[in-house]
């Protein structure tokens, strides 16, 4: 099916060949595309790279408008005034360079100091460009590092001797990495790894340089496009959020219902056992960086739990937030898991060795990923290279995510003990921090504006530099909310941004993470917003609801908060409230006063 042609693992040649019909298909879908301006500054031919990147971005719900520099003019475009680029106001700048753009390489007669100088000068050529781009456009930069040279003059010594080109490339790459470590809006597109993984011999076939000035072989272009698109979609919050896993022949070799716990292979005693152990370890590592785990298996529940409790297994029942082990069809299990995790199925990666199960799930859940993982020896490679969980911003929240979800399940269990919902809320002993933006939370705040889709009144997306600007701007009233209760801390999970307009405050942004819904946090936020607004002589608060495919739940939110409808259009409604009429709504959360 054409809709799966871009899903990993894709056939690069087919993607190139059918690019026109794939693009038409993607554009014809009823996705509400996120429109982004993307500048590609090339140190070599970029034409097909742009076309492939466009396909993968469309597949991720992002519609790009491109600026492409004239052949090889990446540095000039970055350093000097460029009307076209300035008028475009890029959201992302991609610098497509390669080792073909290295001006000076060490020669065998150079000494230590000379080579150090050469290296720094080469590095600074790039660093001043990045600093300039940031100053002019204040947007994320995606920069290729360097692939290894396709010949080694010094043979094996080429990598350890300072005169070797390979050694020089490696040192340059380390300097690029250091810059990336210091700037959270700067991302390395690791073509050093990509080319090695693809096969450096094929990737760097010089024929494509001599004939077409491509710094890589054309068959690898879809891989490059896919890699860049992974970084971009991660920046805009479009990573998948959960792995939903089958059990038999996916997490162990064999069928636990037939073979018994002693008959399945997992652990270091056998080859198959080792293969599955490595896979279980990989999944566990994903959990540690914030990926949620669930089980979707055709098994009696007790057999599934027994299999997961195998002494040699790394993954235990507690590692999974939801375990669906039953004889229902896997598709309805997926929908139940989605409801229980308060997520949509299109944020899942369904991992199952059975193609028939994958097909059913794919057909009924548009946007879900269900890769052909092949045989056990390939599982990790397929899932890893697809880039479902590409990291651009590892926050404390990501690392603690599974813990937070678990705590939520404990809350749900507590709720079942109370018949009066208000009493339940009081029993949670909730406290909240509701304050103006603090620089320490800016990355998380930006991340939230890109990830939250359901409780989001206007779905305005902000980059980190946008949030930094708003934080310094006196025209705005800004609040973040951090909710804690006796089970744990939910972290920063709600944001309100209001813009002052005389005596009116326009709410430009109001969003809240699913995990703190139905706790009356929105009431506490509104109490604080009113309090803040009245300090500036505001007498009216105006809010707007922009309808999207995902935010139906907040259609009447302003009404429930006591606002009156003032304007009704097809996709928007506008609401208003007079501060003089307002009475505090929150009676269950203790809000800490700022120092």
């Amino acid at each position: 099916m054409i809709q799966t042609l871009l899903q990993y693992p894709f056939d690069a040649q087919t993607v190139m060949k059918k690019r026109k019909s794939i693009k038409e298909f993607l554009l014809a879908s009823d996705t509400q595309f996120l429109k982004k301006n993307i500048a590609i500054l090339g140190g070599s031919t970029t034409h097909d790279i742009k076309e492939m990147l466009e396909l993968f971005l469309l597949d991720n719900g992002i519609k790009p408008a491109f600026y492409e520099s004239e052949y090889g003019r990446y540095w000039e475009d970055a350093m000097f005034d460029n009307e076209a680029l300035k008028n475009m106001k890029p959201d992302i700048v991609i610098v497509h360079t390669s080792n073909r753009n290295i001006i000076n390489y060490p020669s065998s007669s150079n000494g230590d100091a000379e080579i150090d100088n050469m290296l720094h000068s080469q590095y600074e050529h790039f660093e001043e460009m990045w600093d300039n781009i940031r100053e002019k456009y204040a947007c994320p930069i995606i920069q290729n590092n360097f692939e290894m040279p396709f010949y080694r003059l010094l043979g094996n010594k080429d990598s350890s001797d300072i005169h070797g080109k390979t050694n020089y490339m490696m040192r340059l790459n380390m300097m690029f990495s250091k810059y990336a470590q210091k700037h959270s809006d700067f991302f390395i597109n690791d073509i050093n790894y990509l080319s090695a993984s693809y096969g450096l011999e094929r990737w760097s076939d010089p024929q494509y340089w001599y004939m077409y000035k491509y710094c890589l072989c054309t068959p690898a272009i879809p891989i490059l496009g896919h890699s860049i698109s992974n970084i971009i979609k991660s920046i805009y919050g479009k990573n998948k959020k959960a792995l939903v896993l089958d059990l038999d022949n996916t997490l162990w070799d064999g069928v636990v219902g037939d073979d018994g716990v002693k008959g399945i292979e997992i652990g270091y005693d056998t080859s198959m056992g080792q293969a599955y152990s490595e896979f279980q370890n990989y999944i566990k590592l994903q959990k540690q960086i914030g990926v949620l785990l669930a089980v979707n298996s055709k098994n009696d529940h007790e057999n599934a739990i027994a299999g997961l409790n195998h002494p040699e297994g790394t993954l235990k029942p507690e590692d999974f937030l939801v375990i669906k082990a039953n004889w229902n069809d896997k598709d309805s299990n997926i929908r139940e898991i989605a409801v229980e995790l308060n997520l949509l199925p299109d944020s899942f990666v369904f991992v199952d060795d059975n193609p028939a199960e994958r097909d059913i799930v794919l057909s009924n859940n548009p946007g879900i990923a269900a890769p052909d993982i092949g045989e056990i020896e390939k599982y990790i490679s397929v899932i890893d290279k697809a880039g479902y969980f590409e990291v651009t911003n590892l926050s404390e929240d990501d690392i603690k995510r599974n813990e937070m979800y678990k705590e939520n399940i404990e809350r749900i269990q507590l709720k079942q003990k109370y018949s009066n919902y208000n009493d339940y809320l009081l029993s949670l002993d909730m406290t909240a921090q509701i304050r103006d933006f603090d620089s320490i939370y800016i990355p998380r705040i930006a991340q939230l504006t890109n990830k939250v889709n359901q409780f989001n009144l206007t779905t305005k997306r902000f980059s980190q530099s946008d949030i930094e600007d708003i934080t310094c701007d006196n025209e705005y009233v800004r609040l973040y909310g951090k909710l804690e209760d006796k089970f744990g801390d939910n972290g920063v999970s709600t944001i309100v941004i209001g813009k002052k307009d005389g005596r009116i405050l326009h709410i430009d942004l109001w969003l809240m993470s699913c995990r703190i819904m139905k706790r009356n946090m929105e009431h506490a936020m509104l109490d604080s917003l009113v309090q803040e607004a009245s300090k500036y002589g505001i007498d009216t608060i105006r809010g707007c609801y922009h309808k999207t495919a995902k935010n139906g739940i907040v259609k009447d939110f302003y009404k429930t908060m006591g606002f009156s409808l003032t304007e009704q259009n097809v996709n928007d409604t506008v609401w208003e409230m007079k501060i003089s009429d307002y009475r505090n709504l929150n009676h269950v959360i203790k809000v800490e006063i700022a120092q």
Binding site: Q13, M16, K17, K20, H47, D48, Y212, T218, P219
Partner: protein
Amino acid sequence: MERTEILKRVNEIFCEIFDDDTIVIRDETTATDIPDWDSLMQIELVAEHESHFGLRFGMKEVLNMKNVGEMIDIIEDRATK
């Protein structure tokens, strides 16, 4: 494989790549005969013929091909599919 058979298959490939059923390929056909045939299309045409006929063209061969007929000569000689 008969040369006429090769020509027929090559014609099909051109029609597919250019998304145009009306293209008719002859030995004398060159890039100037088809409007969309630029250096980037060239890359695709070469790759598709290589894949379809199971052979690789050398760089010099590609640079020296004066028309489609010369490409077919090489295919006649080295095709494995």
